[in-house]
């Protein structure tokens, strides 16, 4: 069971309170009707399915009920960071180096 920091509650809490909500930063286009079938397929179905740091969404469904974003390493399942919906993608390089340090401290 994972531990997840809710960026709205500012607490690190058990996974049991959260619901996974798929890949992050897949924005629903302004005018879907203008999109090609391929573009719409990509929006609906194509996912990066990263092996490593993955930008994803969670919902604090049994808490503040907010959807938020997270970067999680899908190999270790360790969260590199979480941030509020609407905030820009954090810089991966700096996240990884930060994580690297905390690893080496062990």
């Amino acid at each position: 069971m994972l531990l997840i920091r809710c960026p709205y509650c500012e607490e690190t809490l058990p996974e049991m309170e959260f619901t996974y909500a798929g890949e992050a930063h897949i924005v629903r286009p302004e005018n879907p009707s203008d999109m090609s079938d391929e573009a719409w397929r990509d929006f609906l179905f194509i996912r990066s399915n990263v092996k490593g740091p993955h930008f994803e969404r969670w919902r604090h469904s049994h808490g503040c009920a907010r959807f938020f974003n997270a970067v999680r390493d899908t190999v270790s399942d360790r969260f590199l960071t979480t941030y509020k919906a609407g905030e820009p993608r954090p810089d991966l390089a700096s996240l990884l180096s930060a994580a690297g340090q905390s690893e080496s401290e062990k």
Binding site: E15, T19, R41, F45, R47, N49
Partner: protein, 417 residues
């Protein structure tokens, strides 16, 4: 290579088993192959076997980042059935079932395909409607599947609790008598031995780093930890890692990889005669030849390659099992493990050609890949050999996600695979 039989076993027994030959050599890569298959699970090794046996294509390499059969082939609950709703699925899985029935003889390797029947429990009116829909469709498709009253279900599987007081009372069941289980490792080993015997190279511990495409966009070969290997045809059969490999060929896939957990109990004398699946409470169970209760669970909620999985899911699965089979409450969980399953948006596979010339794919089986092993391998081999879809795998294209022509068993029936 020694032919397996009671006689050869006896003969070797008398000579202290000193003369058995290798079941497959551990090959080093050649510079070039006609076909390279990425992923040495049952699917990949099976495709190699059928390429060699039915299409005479033996200059084939099956490459794996680890040991053969070390992925989902060796990590699943070995349920085999074909009572799917849609014609496309029913044909494919029933084709697999036909192959399963002769596989031990075909491979001269006892894969212990056990036709003990797979029973799916209906716990709600909606389940009943949906199972009836399956049974009628199966009947008109020539697929074995029949309805049991709850009393008949109890008779078929005595440990079953059919009390109306149960939280999810059993309202009846769908039974495919022809379905069952098989010994998962033997499937990988049997295909490997047979393919190797026919000249296929099995290259283990050799991660594929990238699929290389030429100026015309066609496949040229694969970059591996042991260097570049040339091939005009490459088939990716890498289960949970498929999208990672396909990405290197510039193809983004409609796939997500989830952790799936399974567990076994301590071994006991025969008590459980069949396979039982319950989708309302999310649990699958059978008893292995060794006596262990083999129990399958659902996937964790988040995508992952960690193969760890959490405790809460195991708690729920075991609770579900003891809810349906209260006599097992004092049994003990011996071992649990995790696998990585690749899931498509419509829970059906992608099997066959891709937009890239010379690149073939076999993925997206979710939790149901084992049962279709020979069927997927057999039709994929055809497609690779002829560079055209096999009538049975033709509907399982990537294209369907653009057109919307999905094969959505899950949406149609909420039946887990």
């Amino acid at each position: 290579m020694t032919h397996f039989s009671a006689w050869s076993l006896l003969k070797n027994a008398l000579s202290g088993h000193k003369n058995w030959s290798e079941q497959w050599p551990d090959s080093e890569p050649k510079a070039e192959y006609d076909v390279i298959i990425v992923g040495a699970g049952g699917h990949g090794l099976g495709a190699a076997h059928y390429l060699a046996k039915e299409h005479g294509i033996t200059n084939v390499a099956v490459i794996d980042k680890g040991w053969l059969g070390g992925g989902n082939t060796g990590r699943n609950t070995t349920i085999i059935r074909s009572n799917y709703l849609y014609d496309e699925s029913a044909r494919l899985y029933d084709h697999a079932l036909d192959l399963w029935e002769d596989l031990s003889q075909e491979l001269n390797y006892n894969v212990m395909y056990s036709r003990r029947g797979v029973m799916m429990l209906a716990h709600t009116v909606h389940d009943v409607q949906s199972f009836q829909r399956h049974i009628h469709a199966n009947r008109l498709n020539g697929v074995d599947n029949k309805w049991l009253t709850k009393e008949e279900a109890k008779e078929f599987c005595p440990p079953l609790n059919i009390s109306p007081e149960a939280r999810y009372p059993v309202m009846g069941a769908a039974l495919q008598m022809r379905a069952g289980t098989a010994r998962h490792d033997a499937v990988a080993w049997g295909f490997a031995r047979s393919a190797a015997k026919r000249g296929v190279d099995i290259i283990q511990n050799c991660p594929v780093l990238a699929i290389r495409r030429g100026p015309d966009g066609a496949v040229e070969g694969v970059e591996t930890a042991k260097g570049f290997i040339r091939a005009k045809k490459v088939a990716v059969s890498a289960a949970g890692h498929t999208s990672v490999v396909m990405e290197t060929a510039g193809l983004r896939m409609p796939l997500e990889s989830y952790p799936l957990q399974a567990l076994v109990s301590e071994p006991v004398k025969p008590i459980f005669p069949c396979v039982v699946m319950s989708n309302s409470v999310h649990a699958y169970i059978s008893q292995s030849d060794k006596g262990e209760l083999v129990i399958g669970s659902g996937t964790d909620q988040y995508t992952s390659y960690s193969q760890r999985g959490g405790l809460p899911l195991i708690e729920h699965t075991v609770a579900a099992i003891t809810e349906i089979f209260p006599i097992f409450n004092r049994m003990r969980m011996l071992r649990k493990w995790g696998g990585i399953v690749d899931v498509t948006p419509d829970r059906s596979a992608i099997l066959g050609k891709t937009p890239v010339k010379g690149l073939y794919v076999n993925c997206g089986w979710g939790t149901g890949g084992f049962k279709v092993t020979p069927g997927a391998a057999h039709t994929l081999a055809w497609t690779i050999a002829k560079d055209e879809p096999h009538p049975i795998n033709a509907p399982f294209t990537l294209d369907r996600f653009t057109t919307g022509r999905l094969i959505d068993e899950a949406a149609a029936a909420a039946v887990a695979h």
